[in-house]
Structures are given as structure tokens and as C-alpha cells.
């Protein structure tokens, strides 16, 4: 499968204090980041839980990005550190499920880092494209055909 022919489904959980604003800045600065990335704003990445992250995969995400503030700069002190621990836990769980642990990633940026956001988002998208689809999305769509 060539990289260009495959459009992965990526969900990005972004903290509204930093990454969400950075994504905005990237957009208004006309910096390209993957158009197929679905951005979900959170008050803090500390709001994620294992259920959110895993359900995204079950519902067809090929990759999940969690974008929080720089370490030590969380508005709620350690919300992003909790997010990091959960991302690690999900990576471990993905391995047990049979998916590459690299499909989930935590990044840390500040609101002013529009270019950095675009760069890291593109890099993640490339990595997910290289991994290919999880196989869950297709199966979810064509369940009946598979089961028959």
C-alpha cells in the first residue's frame, strides 16, 4: 500500500490550553498538518482515561495522539503527566491486544508552537501510515460480510 493512497484515521486529544491553540495557530499560519486528523479539545489531557483512548481504537482509529502542555507547564500541575502514564498503559495494552504500541503517542507543546505541532502531527501521521490500518475499521464496516 502506498502512503498516499491510504488515509489513516487519527484522533488527536488536545489540551485547549496548549495543543489545541497550537493547532489553531498552525492553521492560521497556513502550516499543513494532516487534514484527516480529528481533533478533540479537552480542558486538559488529564481528562483522558483508559476507556477514551481504547474506545477510539475500537471505533476505528488507526492512531491516537495525545497532545498536552510541556511538562511542568500544565494548568493543573500534573494533568499531562497523568496522561503520559495512561498513554504508556494503553501502549502496553495495545501490544497485548495485537496492535503496535506505537499507535498511541503523547506529545508536549505550548500554545505558541504552531509549527512544532504541525511537524509532530505530520510525523505521527507518517508513522501511522507506515503501520497501515489496524484492521478494526474495515472489519467494523464490513462485519456482516466477515461473519458470513
Amino acid at each position: 500500500m502506498s502512503e498516499t493512497s491510504y488515509e489513516p484515521n487519527i484522533v488527536a486529544f488536545c489540551c485547549m490550553h496548549c495543543a489545541y491553540a497550537a493547532a489553531d495557530l498552525a492553521g492560521s499560519s497556513r502550516l499543513q498538518y494532516p487534514p484527516f486528523m480529528k481533533i478533540i479539545a479537552l480542558p486538559c489531557t488529564g481528562r483522558t482515561d483508559l476507556g477514551h483512548l481504547l474506545r477510539a481504537f475500537e471505533d476505528g482509529a488507526d492512531g491516537v495522539l495525545v497532545a498536552g502542555c510541556l511538562e511542568g507547564r500544565c494548568h493543573y500541575q500534573v494533568g499531562n503527566l497523568y496522561a503520559k502514564q495512561r498513554v504508556n498503559r494503553i501502549a502496553d495494552l495495545l501490544k497485548q491486544i495485537g496492535l503496535a504500541p506505537e499507535r498511541v503517542r503523547m506529545i508536549n507543546i505550548s500554545a505558541g508552537m504552531g509549527a512544532k505541532f504541525a511537524e509532530l502531527a505530520n510525523e505521527f501521521a507518517r508513522d501511522i501510515q507506515a503501520l497501515g490500518p489496524t484492521g478494526l475499521r474495515k472489519a467494523a464496516a464490513g462485519d456482516a460480510a466477515n461473519a458470513a
Binding site: 476507556g51 481504547l54 481504537f57 495494552l93 491486544i97 495485537g98 496492535l99 489496524t134 472489519a139
Partner: protein, 230 residues
């Protein structure tokens, strides 16, 4: 509380081999507060099982249900009309919960998703420590409120052993404090260290599991029976 830990996904999947439709049942009491078998954990486990099954070509349908307390018959009534639809019940309760479901639903295959570990409590966020072994004859009066039966690997009652190292750590696990070190310090604070010089006689273990399966009967709480002919 009863503290439990989820089995690995691999182990749970091997327990479920051949099952196509499973009901994952959580418990909202002890195992919920130790993040092993509450509603959230049921959701995550069910999701993981579904995905793993789909990926390796053995799809499994996993439905989720969490009851307030798996260890009492009244609370698992909710399962009654559902069980016929499932090949197995995957219980995220402690060992008591698993057994209560199994006992009340004869025909159901009930499988444990957790390993029940101990009676204890959190010592810090994300860390639980064993505190009680249910020996049935509490000696915390003698030990300043620190239990050597659950917290000393040798269950010494006149401790400590000779293996404590710098800082009074346990020789068996250097990340654990020596229970007897803690006891001597506590009794010193209470000006009761002298009491520790009295040799504690051998423990009567018959109140522990050694005495057979344990049961408590409270006549004042039992359902009254009408005398026949009365």
C-alpha cells in the same frame, strides 16, 4: 477492602477460548475502588477483548454489566434473565463475587478475570498494601496497631528476625519496611516497649484458615422461624 488485580489479557483470552458471546460483570464495591473490576475497568477490558478477537479472527461479543456488589445474592439478581444469552460470564469481582454468581446460576460458566490478592488499603495513590490476613484472633493491641501476621513474611509474633538492614527494611523485599521495626518504634513512642519483652505464647491458629472453613452465625440477625404448632 479486598484488593485485586486483573489477569493478563492473554490469560483472560485463554479462559474464554471458544466462547463467542460473553457477559463481563463488574462489581461496584472493593474492586471498583482499587481499579480492578469496576464499571470503567469492565469497559476497558471488554473493548480490549473485542479488538483482540477481531484482530486474530476469533471475534467475541462482550457485553458489559456492573452490579453494586457481586458477593450478595440480591445484587446479582440483575443477571437472572440475561445469562441464557451468553456462553460465559466473565466476572471482574473478587473470588467471592465469582463464587456467588457461580453458586446462584447453576448452569452458567463463570470465569474469573481478576486475581484476588489481599485485604488491605491504599498507602498512596496507585499503591495498595496488605494489612490483614483474617487470622480470626486480632493481636493489634499487643503490637501497637501494626499487624505482623500480614506484614511480616515470617509472621513473627516476637520479632523482628535478624535480616533487617539499614533503615529497617525487610530482607524479603527491600522496598518494604520491617513490620517489627515499625512495631518497636511505635511502642517506644507509646512508652510501651517493655511489653514487647514478654514472650508471646504460640498463636492459636484454629481461628485462621487452619481451623477449617470459617463461618459466622449471628442468631440475632437470622430470619426468625415460627415454631410449628405455635
Amino acid at each position: 477492602m479486598i484488593v485485586a488485580e486483573q489477569k493478563s489479557l492473554d490469560e483472560i483470552r485463554s479462559l474464554l477460548r471458544g466462547k463467542r458471546k460473553v457477559l463481563a460483570v463488574g462489581c461496584g464495591t472493593c474492586v471498583a475502588v482499587c481499579f480492578a473490576g469496576g464499571k470503567r475497568e469492565v469497559g476497558v477490558l471488554a473493548s480490549a477483548l473485542r479488538m483482540a478477537g477481531q484482530l486474530d479472527g476469533s471475534p467475541v461479543e462482550v457485553d458489559e454489566l456492573t452490579v453494586q456488589r457481586q458477593c450478595e445474592a440480591e445484587y446479582i439478581e440483575a443477571l437472572k434473565d440475561k445469562l441464557a444469552d451468553y456462553d460465559a460470564v466473565l466476572s471482574l469481582g473478587c473470588g467471592v463475587g465469582v463464587q456467588t454468581i457461580a453458586e446462584h446460576y447453576d448452569g452458567a460458566t463463570v470465569l474469573p478475570a481478576l486475581n484476588t490478592k489481599f485485604m488491605g488499603g491504599p498507602t498512596e495513590q496507585g499503591v495498595w498494601l496488605e494489612r490483614c490476613q483474617g487470622c480470626g484472633a486480632c493481636l493489634l493491641d499487643y503490637t501497637g496497631g501494626i499487624c505482623p501476621i500480614s506484614r511480616c513474611p515470617k509472621q513473627l509474633q516476637n520479632g523482628p528476625c535478624g535480616g533487617t538492614d539499614a533503615g529497617g527494611r525487610c530482607e524479603v523485599d527491600a522496598t518494604m519496611p520491617c513490620a517489627w521495626h515499625l512495631i518497636w518504634e511505635k511502642m517506644d513512642k507509646l512508652h510501651r516497649q517493655d511489653e514487647l519483652l514478654e514472650v508471646r505464647p504460640p498463636k492459636d491458629w484454629s481461628t485462621s484458615r487452619d481451623g477449617g472453613v470459617r463461618r459466622i452465625v449471628r442468631d440475632d440477625l437470622r430470619k426468625p422461624k415460627l415454631e410449628s404448632g405455635a
